[in-house]
């Protein structure tokens, strides 16, 4: 499977600031996704990152809070905007690659003070 790199791996941020998380894949992929994993919780899909068009957000997530870019088939970013402590989570990107399977990056551990 493709190699998925996420940056940063972790960060500690002040409330009210924004953080942009990068997801780089070593091959072209059609589908990229962003998930949130709140402390002690399961994963929840935030949005599907569509190449060349706006992301498709799931219920409960909005573009103003989680803007996503997908400039090409190997790269995407997720920004967590105007952060509050409730945004402290692990954020993971994944790719859809063949046979309807998703592969995940190592995640970004975000703590908001």
């Amino acid at each position: 499977s493709a190699v998925i790199s996420q940056k940063p791996s972790r960060d500690i941020c002040q409330r009210g600031t924004s953080l942009t998380i990068q997801c780089q894949v070593d091959s072209q992929v059609t589908m990229m996704f962003w998930y949130r994993q709140q402390p002690g919780q399961s994963l929840t899909l935030i949005a599907t990152a569509n190449q060349g068009s706006e992301a498709t957000y799931e219920s409960g997530f909005v573009i103003d809070k989680f803007p996503i870019s997908r400039p090409n088939l190997t790269f995407s970013t997720l920004t967590v905007s105007n952060m509050s402590p409730e945004d402290s989570s692990i954020y993971l990107c994944s790719i859809g690659q063949g046979e309807n399977i998703q592969y995940f990056g190592a995640g970004t551990r975000l703590s908001v003070l």
Partner: protein
Amino acid sequence: AQSVTQPDIHITVSEGASLELRCNYSYGATPYLFWYVQSPGQGLQLLLKYFSGDTLVQGIKGFEAEFKRSQSSFNLRKPSVHWSDAAEYFCAADFSGGYNKLIFGAGTRLAVHP
């Protein structure tokens, strides 16, 4: 609503013992089913998947899972657990017919005693 249930939040087993982690999905058409493992500080690694066909599927690291339509279940098993298997295990389902909309269970945290 479509959902995935993992009834066991925590499970502790002794090294060398057998393991079964339970997973149930909501009724309806059979989804695509997956088991992922998340080791501490790591992302998710795919253990195995079920789309159709043989209801007993083999995965990596000696894991297998059995799909039972009558019970809407997809339980994960391993005959002999190793200390390195201690991790969190997530069952996931794609009810969207292959459009990659994964719904995850709450996860089962596995502890392994020496």
